[in-house]
Assembly symmetry: C2
């Protein structure tokens, strides 16, 4: 009995679990253009509404990874670490975490993405650095891990073609927000890119794709389960994305903040997140015997300056001007207009809506609504107060970096709606909401 | 704000009711090839899994009807009746009911379909009559209603193009079994074909598309609700399709049984169904003051021979040989091999599985698995015993009409599995399970 796509769709439509063979038949057939878009669209909607078991999602992930080239990094290092964020506003973690972990002796090889909608992308941010390029051949990718211990590259077209095709289809068929489809999309790329130790950062809140803790935890658990079933070391953190991470939002502004953090001068909450996640990755890679020594090792990379030097070497290796580390203000693009937004009232800040900051940055020209839109890397916003802070009436809430006065005025109006004030003291939200290890998954 | 297909899909995906404008935007866009198959496929799956309100299904029906030409029969007769069956095995109701109702003075104008899978089609059956053609232009269709009061034609390509396109897509995307999509497909064709009084026969059982009474009642209620909201007089019967209807299964064999019924010599259960449904249609068309006089009027068409004469005129009008009425055995195709299937045991028949009879007829060459397959109109099966009848061991259960001995032997083997016997007396199943009038719908 030969398999038929329509029967596989019907089985999922009726809420049954698909076998690994059925999933592979469907995914490879779709990747090879043997199964048409309309059958894949019906299948995606059935998956979205009926769900998948962890076993199905793992089979889907591995099948997508198999649809193209898969990097084998075992000849480069026994363990290569990767870190992935599900996307948020002001998320410059990769730029700070990578150098810290690499400086602590653990190689990091990461393929990263671009920003879309309210959510920024690491490649867009790093391209603020004059000369820096995300294009790395497989050989360059491996060589840079070997020589510098840190590489951040764009995904090559040979990797996971099934995901690229499926993602474009999901975008126009309202099938993006499906946990198994999101989890398999992320994990197939991670697995194909060759890293064997992966720390996932699942953002939750108004500035993330997952808006509820329940959804975020389920996504995190699904991805950790996939990793376990696929034989990778994977852990996940669910972290807050109700307000922007750190203080800078916008490409060049975020590079500047990452550099400040590597100098030990970053915002305390962001610095703490970097140190915690870096220590966690070292533990996962068995580079430290216990949490305390892992923590000491990563703190040491900041105080000794080795993390900053790792960033410098990384930039140089990918064609960027290493002097950016010393003179970011001179070498990174700067917006001509900088205008403060003043608080219209006194009170404790109770909301600093991350999504508004993300969309305002898009409107300022610093992000894109459609893939391929050009962006201005100089623009964005720098926050001076976050949730829990007390502000006086007339005190600057943030500084808008814009191309002209009109843009800045428009941004100020939008951003005002991001804020809320309380008469009573407000506790700042915990940054790390949940940590999920493989043993936590039933 | 312009509408976007992806937003309409997302709204249905999230279980919200679509507005008539949104449904019309989607359906007309799809009919005009502006909305691609993959978006329609995702939307169909969302509709299947999330459902639709009666208002949405009505909007969908009317939008599909509007996608092409709509016949206006008001210049032909104040009321034109139609009858539609959802499809079953041995269902020759149209061929007997049409002449009875027309002979009682009520014009009947019907567009009918072809058989597929286990389910037969009226056009295939009537084409057993030498010369008879289902092709009628709009002018011929109207003229025949005016002059004879009875026409049965194939659906023209100008009618409901959206349904034709959507049905082909549903077939390959596992989205056929959706009540709102089935109901709107049926009703859009009925409405576009111009009849204003419609009696629906929803088949339920192993030989029908609806296998549970619950599903059949829901479909019937949905279609009656659409009719009410669309300003048509619509009622529905849910009737048994666990065993074949009447005694003949197969195209020419069913024409012969319909003719026998019009002569007053048909199987009692089938004759009773025809008289009940015909009387019901006369009442709906206000051709009778009460049920008793309606019943008398339709019985009169059989006893007086006017129904048989109406069939003769109808056949002649559509190019068929009217002598078929007098000499069916000579003029209808006959299978060369006729072989009895003998009962292997004695007992009360407790199952005569209609679907097995339908599929066996396909295997004998009398039906099709794919659209456009050629068929042999002579083959089929004639039943001699039905559920509740007592049979002796060795008594003929049915006669197989086949092209050769090998086909007959294969059919005998298949049909044996359709039967079950009981030691205890078995009550024959009620033919009419439920009648649904517009006032019954909440």
């Amino acid at each position: 009995m030969t398999m038929r796509a329509v029967d596989i769709i019907a089985k999922k439509r009726d809420g049954q679990a698909l076998s690994a063979e059925e999933i592979d038949f469907f995914i490879q057939g779709y990747a090879r253009d043997e199964i048409p878009d309309y059958q894949a669209a019906a299948w995606c909607m059935a998956v979205l509404l009926r769900g998948m078991t962890h076993e199905e999602t793992t089979a889907l992930t591995l099948s997508m990874a198999r649809s193209g080239k898969q990097l084998d990094l075992s000849d480069v290092a026994p363990l290569v670490a990767d870190k992935h964020s599900t996307g948020g506003v002001g998320d410059k973690v990769t730029m700070a975490l990578g150098p810290v972990v690499a400086a602590a002796g653990q190689p990091v090889g990461k393929m990263s993405g671009r920003g879309l909608g309210f959510s920024g992308g690491t490649l867009d941010k790093l391209e603020s650095i004059p000369g820096w390029s995300a294009e790395r051949s497989e050989q360059e990718f491996k060589q840079q891990i070997r020589e510098i211990g840190l590489v951040v590259a764009g995904q090559t077209r040979e990797l996971v073609p099934a995901d690229r095709k499926l993602y474009a289809l999901r975008d126009v068929t309202a099938t993006v927000p499906s946990l198994p489809l999101i989890a398999s999309s992320v994990m197939s790329k991670k697995i194909a890119a060759g890293a064997n130790v992966i720390l996932l950062d699942v953002k939750v809140g108004v500035g993330a794709f997952m808006e509820t803790l329940e959804d975020a935890v389920e996504l995190a658990e699904t991805m950790v389960a996939i990793g376990r079933l696929a034989g990778r070391r994977v852990a996940a953190r669910v972290t807050d994305m109700n307000q922007p991470l750190g203080r800078a939002v916008g490409n060049a502004l975020e590079v500047k903040e990452a550099l400040a953090t590597l100098r030990g001068e970053g915002p305390p909450d962001f610095t703490e997140l970097i140190l915690t996640e870096a220590a966690h990755l070292l533990m996962m890679c068995e580079r430290a015997d216990d949490e305390q020594s892992a923590r000491r090792a990563v703190e040491e990379t900041l105080s000794s300056g080795t993390a900053l030097e790792k960033f410098r070497a990384f930039v140089a290796a990918q064609g960027g001007d290493p002097a950016v580390v010393d003179e970011p203000d001179r070498l990174l693009p700067q917006a001509p207009v900088q205008q403060d937004l003043l608080s219209p009232r006194a009170g404790y800040l109770s909301a600093v809506n991350a999504r508004v900051f993300g969309m305002t940055t898009v409107h300022l020209g610093g992000g894109r609504l459609r893939k391929g839109d050009p962006i201005d890397r100089s623009v964005g916003v720098v926050l001076h107060a976050k949730i829990g802070d007390y502000v006086e009436k007339g005190q600057p809430l943030c500084t808008i970096h814009a191309r002209n006065e009109a843009d800045a005025a428009q941004a100020a109006e939008e951003l005002l709606a991001a804020y809320d004030w309380s008469e009573q003291p407000v506790s700042p939200p915990a940054l790390i909401k949940r940590t999920i290890q493989p043993d936590d998954i039933p």
